[in-house]
């Protein structure tokens, strides 16, 4: 939408749009703000002051970071999120390229079918998967989590990347072919770098999903060495008897921050109009 089309809207339309946007923003941001505020309070002052804590303290964060096993949970979360995202992106690039560039029979049907792992509720997959994973002797391993995370990330990434790959002019690949590039080189040296915004989008979404994933890690792992941050958050809430909401919120914020930072860093790196100048 250009500036001029916004300006041509009537005052009423603009007010409605602004009110809707403000409400949506509040709806999205308020829980985080409240959680952050709670994390700076003590259990005694939690409900007595407003959003701005009277006597803010970082004690809760210190307690989270120094708590038993925190480095392990953080490492598990990081390792699983990064590995599963890398594997999912690698597979998705090849799948998306195939769907974008080759007109094979049943292509559209297959495209819908790869969405199945995302359409089915995750909880409904747990029992059959558990049966399968147990038989494969993969319970309580990184492998099972990486495989299951990839299975849900690949369909989404494939769909996102396919759109970006289709937008890469064929001539660029033809030029690369004449320049001496093999199919593999054309994909990784031409198509993927040009589709960087798509790669970043698919990557961040996959990473976020894996980072926040809870049902699979709950179902397929048992030992404390395999716990991830969301799992520990769940245990924290469950096992303390008295709910220490300040601590829980400090943990929540600690869990959110890495993903938030990633969003902020990469948002700037999604370069608009990267392909301008390629053709015409």
């Amino acid at each position: 939408m250009t500036g001029s089309t916004i300006r041509t809207g009537t005052l009423t339309t603009r007010i409605v749009v602004w009110v809707a946007l403000i409400l949506l923003t509040l709806w999205a941001v308020l829980p985080i703000v409240w959680s952050f505020s709670a994390s700076l309070k003590t259990p005694l002052t939690l409900y007595t002051s407003g959003l701005i804590p009277e006597d803010p303290t970082l004690d809760n964060y210190a307690r989270v970071i120094t708590s038993d096993g925190f480095p392990t949970y953080l490492w598990n979360s990081l390792f699983l999120a990064i590995t599963s995202t890398a594997v999912a992106l690698f597979v998705s690039v090849l799948a998306a390229y195939g769907f974008a560039r080759y007109a094979f029979a049943w292509r559209h049907v297959l495209l819908l079918f790869i969405l199945v792992p995302r359409i089915l509720p995750r909880a409904s997959l747990i029992i059959p998967l558990y049966y399968l994973v147990e038989r494969l002797n993969l319970l309580d391993t990184y492998t099972v989590l990486i495989v299951t995370y990839c299975a849900t990330a690949v369909p989404m990434s494939t769909w996102i990347l396919m759109g970006f790959f289709r937008a890469v002019p064929r001539e660029l690949e033809e030029a690369a072919a004449i320049d001496g590039a093999s199919l593999w080189q054309r994909i990784w040296k031409v198509v993927v770098p040009i589709s960087l915004p798509g790669m970043v989008t698919a990557g961040i979404l996959s990473l976020r999903e894996a980072w926040n994933e809870f049902p699979f890690v709950l179902a397929f792992t048992t030992s404390s060495e395999m716990r991830t941050l969301p799992y520990q958050l769940f245990l924290l809430r469950d096992s303390m008897g008295i709910q220490d909401w300040s601590l829980i919120n400090a943990f929540t914020i600690t869990t959110i921050v890495p993903i938030l930072v990633l969003y902020l860093v990469f948002e700037r790196q999604i370069v608009n109009g990267l392909t301008s100048g390629a053709v015409k």
Binding site: E171, I178, D179, G277, K280
Partner: protein, 360 residues
């Protein structure tokens, strides 16, 4: 450098035949232009030579080697695309050196060849810029740089100037020609612009519906078009093609009777012919003489003027250099120059008469 020879080349897309059967021999070092209207198969032909489209049947040789099944990257060709096809995520330098890097050329040699190409195309100050930071003409030069840096046996150009403005097109035309003279590499150039074809080609191939209509040097094609299609396509403004009826002593054009021209008296001619006159081979004379008509449009171009004259049967285009005091709506007469007339069979469309020395 290498010759390019196509023998019985044929191209189908499913049931659709795009190129029926084509033979063409392009000599080593020659600059050949494939010209024809949109959809005539010229780009398909170029893409088959490049290895971007498979050949359905026939044989394609680059030099002595049959390359039908050889991948594009192994054909020793370079191609300049209509839309430049520059890699947007690479700088000018990276664009130019990409092919050399893929071939794992030594670093020093890569740097030297990139510098040479950049120098030749005046791209040296732009080497660290991205394509989006360049103008259309500069992008086109980068595309050329990418092609010449590899020193290929054959250059292919797919309408490389059609996205440029008119002035830049003329400049780039000269630059490409100069580059060809310098590199002396076999070049095949596709365009739908017949002016480009005429000015650039050592020889031109006029194509229509996948069939070569005429192959020859531009002036020969202009002076002696082989058929009605070539006559109408080559030359700007286009040749006037007027129906004529021949008898023993006369030639009637647009129902105006003229004495049969002396040089055609002995030639056996069919009764119905199409007479072709270039716009500058028709003179405007007094009303009442020659073919009568009304001035419809006058387009003064400075040095010359183009006028469209409506003759009641069809419009005739006249090009003249003297300043005639013509007015739109005025009745005039038209006198064709029979010495430079092109005669075509009205049924087959083929040329009948030999070109006269004064043709043009």
């Amino acid at each position: 450098m290498a010759s390019v020879t196509l023998t019985g080349v044929n191209k189908h897309y499913g049931a659709v035949e795009v190129i029926p059967r084509l033979d063409l021999a392009i000599e080593d070092g020659e600059f050949v232009v494939l010209v024809g209207p949109s959809g005539c198969g010229k780009s398909t032909l170029l893409r088959m030579i490049a290895g971007l489209e498979p050949i359905t049947a026939g044989e394609l040789r680059i030099g002595e080697r049959v390359v039908n099944t050889v991948a594009a990257k192994n054909r020793d060709i370079a191609m300049v695309f209509q839309n430049y096809a520059l890699y947007p995520h690479k700088t000018v330098r990276q664009n130019i050196e990409f092919a050399l890097k893929l071939r794992k050329a030594p670093k020093a040699e890569t740097a030297r060849r990139v510098a040479e190409a950049a120098e030749l195309l005046e791209l040296t100050p732009l080497l660290d810029r991205y394509p989006r930071q360049l103008s259309g003409g500069q992008r086109q030069r980068v595309a050329m740089g990418r092609a010449i840096v590899r020193n290929p046996a054959v250059f292919l150009f797919d309408e490389p100037l059609s996205n440029l403005d008119a002035k830049l097109r003329v400049e780039m035309r000269a630059q490409i020609k100069a580059l060809h003279r310098r590199l002396e590499a076999t070049s095949i150039y596709v365009t739908h612009d017949q002016v480009e074809a005429m000015t650039m080609g050592d020889r031109i191939v006029v194509m229509r519906e996948g069939v070569v209509q005429q192959f020859g040097n531009p002036i020969d094609v202009y002076d002696a078009p082989a058929n009605l299609f070539v006559a109408g396509f080559i030359g700007s403004p286009a040749m006037n093609l007027l129906p004529g009826v021949v008898d023993q002593d006369s030639l009637s054009i647009l129902e105006t009777r003229f004495a049969r021209p002396a040089h055609l008296r002995r030639e056996p001619l069919p009764e119905n012919v199409i007479c072709g006159f270039r716009p500058d081979a028709v003179s405007i004379i007094e009303n009442g003489e020659g073919i009568g008509g009304t001035v419809e449009v006058i387009e003064p171009m400075g040095g010359e003027t183009i006028a469209n004259i409506d003759t009641d049967h069809q419009t005739v285009t006249v090009l003249y250099r003297n300043r005639l005091p013509l007015k739109v709506g005025e009745r005039v007469g038209l006198m064709p120059d029979f010495a430079s007339m092109h005669l075509f069979d009205s049924e087959s469309g083929r040329r009948i008469n030999k070109p006269s020395p004064t043709c043009g």
